[in-house]
């Protein structure tokens, strides 16, 4: 097991090198002088020269990449061109809302989707099943901003139950944070819910058709025990996999959801960077999000052994 974890950890290195190489080359291979692109449209030649020197753009390409990677390894994600602050500092300032949003979305999605999938598989072919399937087809099609604005309209503007937009930091009490994050978490969670519910149902249907389930029924085991104890745990591997795959949706979704709900997180940092063409910030965020994704995939691979002891490495 330890050997396997070490092997999987080592396998993440080439992936991250490719990611770093990609964001690095993107800046250098796109047509035009990178310094001029970064400096913007109204920059003077002196300002462009300054940026060129500051970013080391006058060095040979391989040397620049070497410096870039060694900076990354020391936790230096680069420096924002406009605020002159390290990207890592900017990220730290914006981290809390995004993490709270991502975790609440995960919580909302899993706690609704798994029961939905289990019930749909149990009552397969009935109206309940069709409602769940209908929901999961719809959930894939409705874009997060449409759901977001719809929820705001109904629950904030019409009913006045929840705040329209904005984010209350955890320091102001968890109750306030929860009130501000409910709508964003549901808006973002919808597509995720659809995905998990679909896979849960499919995986449960597979397991429920097996002999040992019939044996359990024959022994007179209660339905709830069969579903949750006998079936769900054995259906877990595809479900966990899809939760990992869905993380990509979550990261892209966070950026859009934060814009809809005016949440000052990493997504807003991204949007501000787009408007100012502050490429180092976007570069840093890509490295950060890609590392998170690689790390989660690693954790999911390791979790298989827990759900299915037959998987040996």
């Amino acid at each position: 097991m330890t050997a396997y974890i070490i092997r999987r950890l080592l396998a993440t290195i080439p992936v991250m090198i490719v990611v770093a190489l990609f964001v690095f080359l993107l800046l250098h291979l796109t047509p035009g002088d990178p310094a001029a692109v970064i400096a913007g449209d109204e920059a003077s030649p002196a300002a462009i020269e300054g940026i060129r020197r500051k970013l080391g753009l006058d060095l040979p390409l391989w040397q620049q990449f070497g410096i870039y990677v060694s900076n990354l390894l020391r936790g230096d994600l680069g420096t924002s061109i406009f605020s002159n602050l390290p990207v890592l500092t900017l990220v730290k300032q914006r981290l809390e809302p995004s993490i709270v949003l991502a975790l609440s979305t995960l919580l909302v999605a899993i706690s609704f989707a798994i029961p939905m999938g289990v019930v749909a598989a149990w009552k397969v072919g009935t109206a309940i099943d069709r409602v769940v399937m209908g929901f999961s087809v719809l959930g894939f099609a409705v874009p997060v901003f449409l759901i977001g604005y719809f929820l705001i309209y109904v629950f904030a503007i019409e009913l006045h139950w929840l705040p329209v937009q904005g984010y209350q930091p955890l320091a102001q009490g968890i109750g306030q944070t929860a009130r501000s994050i409910v709508l964003p978490a549901f808006a973002l969670g919808m597509v995720y819910m659809a995905l998990i519910a679909r896979i849960t149902r499919a995986s449960m249907l597979d397991v429920l058709s097996q002999d040992y389930i019939r044996t359990a029924h024959a022994k007179g085991v209660a339905m709830s025990v069969v579903l949750l104890h006998h079936a769900l745990k054995n259906a877990a591997v595809p479900i966990v996999t899809v939760i990992g795959i869905g993380l990509a949706l979550l990261i892209s979704g966070v950026v859009i959801t934060e814009t809809v709900f005016n949440i000052p997180g990493l997504g807003r940092l991204t949007v501000d960077a787009i408007l100012k063409r502050d490429y180092p910030i976007i570069q840093g965020l890509i490295i950060l999000f890609a590392s998170v994704k690689v790390l989660v995939n690693l954790m999911i691979d390791i979790s298989y052994a827990f759900f299915d002891p037959r998987i040996r490495y």
Partner: protein, 288 residues
């Protein structure tokens, strides 16, 4: 003895009808899609100039004159939404075609030549680790935004998924006895690839292409919504929603109509995709 005349055409027609009857999702999805295509084609005849603005008609509610209301510049949201259909369809179809074509070539080469496989798959793993929307944002921040750049930016992150799919099909097929037989009888490599391996990838690729198309339309809308998509003067659904953002509390219709069109278009494409997947691979039908 006279041969019994066989109604070949009739039999084929009834079989085709039977196939459609058993796949109602494809019929529903394809019909809606056809409507969208018609809408995109006849846009100049059923809608006004999407760019003309009338400051006196700012933020008007939906009415007989302005079916979907107007935005803060007094532009007719209905006309803009109708023209937006063109952008979404062009982006969706182009991305699906380009990503599938490039992914197919790389995937077949990877599956067949083990030497390139390792390197190329590491690159694909790296690309897949980058969230699609951020990769597109990075490209668009660096270049001047245009419809072409948006299409390229959305295509790149879709390629690895196609490559993986094609590669897995090729790897499975390559081990089958009939390929061994072809190799043993001296068939040229190119012929093995095009005649014996490629046809196996067609069915899964068509299904994958529909999902890529739907994802591309959503990504374009998301990018435009964030201000990193098609140039703001082009009336794409994402851009219309983006302009409506500031005023959505008083004029929700600016967001509602393009949003609903977007959802219906994506739903229709997904229905076609689901239907094709179920009819092409009956083993997983009913399950998903």
């Amino acid at each position: 003895m006279t041969a019994t005349p066989i109604d070949v055409a009739g039999a084929r027609r009834s079989r085709r009808f039977e196939w459609l009857r058993r796949n109602p999702t494809i019929v529903v999805g394809a019909t809606i899609l056809a409507l969208f295509v018609v809408l995109a084609l006849i846009a100049p005849w059923i809608a006004n100039d999407p760019l003309s603005f009338e400051p006196l008609d700012r933020l008007k509610r939906p009415s007989a004159e302005f079916w979907f209301g107007t935005d803060q510049f007094g532009r007719d949201v209905y006309s803009r939404v109708v023209y937006g259909t063109r952008i979404s369809l062009v982006v969706g179809i182009s991305v699906a075609c380009i990503a599938t074509a490039i992914g197919l070539v790389i995937g077949v080469l990877c599956g067949y030549y083990r030497r390139v496989d390792d390197t190329v798959m590491r690159v694909m793993d790296g690309l897949m680790a980058i969230p699609a929307i951020l990769l597109a944002i990075a490209l668009i921040t660096l270049m001047r935004s245009s419809l072409l750049i948006v299409i390229v930016a959305i295509t790149i992150p879709e390629i690895p998924r196609v490559v993986r799919l094609v590669r897995s099909v090729v790897l499975t097929v390559r081990g089958l006895p009939y390929i061994e037989a072809a190799v043993a009888s001296g068939t040229r490599t190119r012929l093995i690839m095009t005649r014996h391996i490629l046809p196996n990838t067609v069915a899964p690729l068509i299904v994958q292409a529909t999902y890529v198309c739907a994802a591309a339309i959503l990504t374009e809308a998301g990018l435009s919504f964030l201000g990193a998509g098609t140039p703001p003067e082009i009336p794409s659904w994402g851009n219309i929603i983006s302009t409506g953002r500031t005023f959505f509390q008083i004029s929700p219709w600016i967001i509602f109509f393009p949003g609903v069109m977007l959802a219906i278009a994506v739903l229709a494409i997904n229905l076609v995709g689901d239907g094709l997947r179920d009819s092409l691979d009956p083993r997983i039908a009913r399950r998903m």
